[in-house]
């Protein structure tokens, strides 16, 4: 190969990825860097944003227990949502995988269908069913005399976890589904021929092999739940804030952009740490299954 051709073949990948790279830098990296910088600026009720370098916002977040409560609640909700989707989604994917052709594609569509509907519309659906005295389910239960007061759903963490789990379920099912596709179709027969019963087959043979799928699904669900905005905003509202809605309020209501930026940056940093850390752990633990 001539030197010119070699140089060209070296340059080609860069040239081909340049448009996407520029878009990525332009709409993600630069705003991200600006947000991080913004979190170190000063802000006052009357003076607005002052482009100086101070640690005021970070100091406030670190010392005021209000923020600790916000972040603890955010991650508590994300963890509970993740557990709920894993507990329901993994068996769901397994059952789905065992169904015969036509039913399988039908139920897969039922599970994936909600992805086509906006998160706002789906969450508002929950609000219509359980929202106060006028919620459909509440009305029905109260008129039947089953309940005296509405089911505590709106503005509760339980409600938020349930609504989030509903939104996140497809990601868990798909992730476990992908792991199930890698299973040898004869593996259950092999275990059975060696004398294993159905429960043993699931516990000893199936579970360990789909665990990486459950865990990668968990990472997706956890990070999406911790940074979710629409569902907490509708179900939790102002009464039950999480990190994402807190940052939103700082930006758009209080207009304290630097503080909002600090909250957003902290949320991002915490998520990146958690996701990268657990991913490394999973890959090490399940190296043999991933191979």
């Amino acid at each position: 190969m001539s030197a010119v051709a070699e140089e060209r073949s070296l340059r080609a990948p860069w040239a081909l990825t340049a448009p996407a790279l520029m878009l990525f830098v332009g709409v993600l990296l630069i705003p991200l860097a600006m947000t991080v910088m913004l979190s170190f600026h000063d802000w006052g009720q009357y003076k607005g944003i002052e482009p100086v370098f101070i640690l005021k916002n970070w100091h406030e977040i670190a010392t005021d227990p209000y923020y600790a409560e916000m972040f603890w609640r955010t991650f508590r909700i994300a963890i509970l949502t993740t557990l709920l989707t894993a507990l329901l989604g993994a068996p769901e994917a397994y059952i789905l995988n065992r169904m015969s052709g036509r039913w399988k594609s039908f139920f897969l569509l039922v599970i994936l269908g909600p992805l086509l509907i906006s998160v706002v519309a789906r969450t508002l659906g929950w609000a219509l069913l359980f929202g106060g005295n006028n919620g459909l389910v509440n009305k029905l239960l109260m008129s039947l005399g089953v309940m005296r007061s509405p089911i505590p759903f709106m503005f509760t963490e339980t409600g938020m976890v349930i609504a989030l789990a509903h939104v996140m379920m497809p990601f868990m099912v798909l992730s476990v589904w992908a792991a199930l596709q890698r299973l040898d179709p004869q593996i259950e027969n092999a275990a059975m021929s060696l004398g294993a019963g159905p429960a043993t087959i699931i516990r000893r043979i199936i579970m360990p092999q789909i665990m990486p799928g459950v865990l990668s699904g968990a990472i997706i669900v956890f990070s999406l739940s911790a940074s979710a905005f629409a569902t907490p905003a509708i179900i939790g509202g102002r009464r039950l804030k999480v990190a994402a809605t807190l940052a939103y309020d700082e930006f758009l209501n209080t207009l304290n952009w630097p503080l909002g930026a600090a909250v957003a940056t902290l949320l991002l940093a915490a998520l990146v740490l958690i996701v990268v850390g657990s991913n490394a752990l999973i890959e090490r633990r399940y190296a043999e299954v991933f191979r």
Binding site: D184, I187, N189, A190, M192, S193, L194, E288, V289
Partner: protein, 346 residues
């Protein structure tokens, strides 16, 4: 007394009959092959013995007991799958130990039996390897050890060698046969490879379209094929159209210019089947012209155009001069080397 007995077993999927009227009795310690093209029902039959499928009709008995009434997990059969179906999250020894664990074998005895089983298949020292870090041949051995360690009453092999390359497959065939001889486990092998079936088994069950074509020793099925299908499927064969001439006495079998005393019980148009290695070049017989001559080391392969259609001839490379391409020859064979069947629609 039959050890394993299949009595008129049939399997239908919907309206489609996949296995029909399958009867076979297997003696203890015997090595049986189910041989046939894909879709002939051989794997379905194996799965019915294993219990993964229930027969639509018929009975399967092991030492006189009805096997179909026993749950597959309790049948105590050893199975090697085509894909091996090893547990990828367990090491080789954990894979082999699984069946013993399910049987509640104490830990110390388990460890000893696992070690012995892996040593038997030549995998001593590989105890802690995971299957995905092993070659195809090694995985195959782990699967065999896993099936044998539970001391199965019958060993079922579902095309176990089909994923190996030719050289390894030959090695494994020899080894499989040796292991089976040593421990004496009754074995059923499903295969579409006639060489594999012939070199491994005591008896071959040739199947086609869900039905048994022939049951016999490798030699019987090769030399006395019961049907056109068997003679075509087991090795190469030449089919010549001939007739039985009753106008002369004694009656004669005529194929082109080749003639011989007619076998009893046949008349009219017949098919004469002769194996290529049983045909020689002579002074009288079927006249033919050699189209191509291929040298294959220990033998010569001739493709000829005869009076009765194309013919293949295989001659040992014994050092004598062989006819060349384009030569006119006469093909001849001994009457006992052919099989004659009535020919329909002529």
């Amino acid at each position: 007394m039959a050890y394993l007995e299949l009595d008129r077993v049939a399997k239908q999927f919907g309206t489609q009959t996949v296995v029909d009227d399958f009867s076979l009795s297997v003696g203890k310690g015997e090595f049986i092959s189910f041989l046939g093209p894909s879709g002939c029902g051989k794997t379905t039959t194996l799965q019915m013995i294993a219990g993964f499928l229930d027969p639509t009709r018929g009975a399967i008995r092991l030492e006189g007991k009805d096997l179909t009434a026993i749950h597959p997990a309790k049948r105590g059969l050893g199975i090697v799958f085509q894909s091996y179906a090893l547990f990828p999250h367990m090491t080789a020894s954990e894979n082999v130990a699984f069946g013993l664990e399910m049987r509640g074998v104490p830990r110390a005895e388990r460890a000893e039996r696992v070690r012995a089983a892996l040593a038997m298949v030549g995998l001593a020292g590989y105890e802690d390897r995971h299957p995905r870090r092993m070659s195809g041949g090694q995985q195959q051995r782990v699967a065999l050890a896993r099936a044998l360690v539970i001391k199965p009453s019958v060993l079922l092999l579902d095309e176990p060698l089909s994923n190996l390359d030719a050289k390894l497959r030959e090695e494994m065939q020899i080894e499989l046969r040796q292991i089976q001889r040593t421990i004496g486990t009754t074995t059923i092998l499903v295969t579409h490879d006639q060489n594999e079936a012939m070199s491994l088994s005591d008896r071959i069950v040739v199947m086609s379209q869900g039905k048994i074509e022939q049951i016999g020793t490798p030699q019987e099925t090769y030399e006395k094929p019961a049907s056109a299908f068997v003679s075509q499927f087991l090795g190469k064969t030449n089919d010549f159209a001939g007739t039985i001439d009753r106008t002369v006495s004694p009656t004669q079998l005529v194929a082109g210019s080749w003639r011989a005393p007619a076998p009893a019980g046949l008349g009219g148009p017949v098919t004469v089947s002769v194996r290529p290695e049983r045909i020689g070049f002579g002074d009288a017989g079927l006249s033919a012209k050699i189209l191509t001559r291929i040298f294959q080391g220990n033998h010569w392969l001739f493709q000829c155009d005869s009076e009765c259609g194309p013919a293949i001839v295989i001659r040992q490379n014994d050092g004598t001069a062989q006819p060349g391409e384009g030569d006119a020859v006469r093909l001849t064979w001994r009457p006992e080397d052919m099989s004659v069947r009535a020919r329909a629609g002529a």
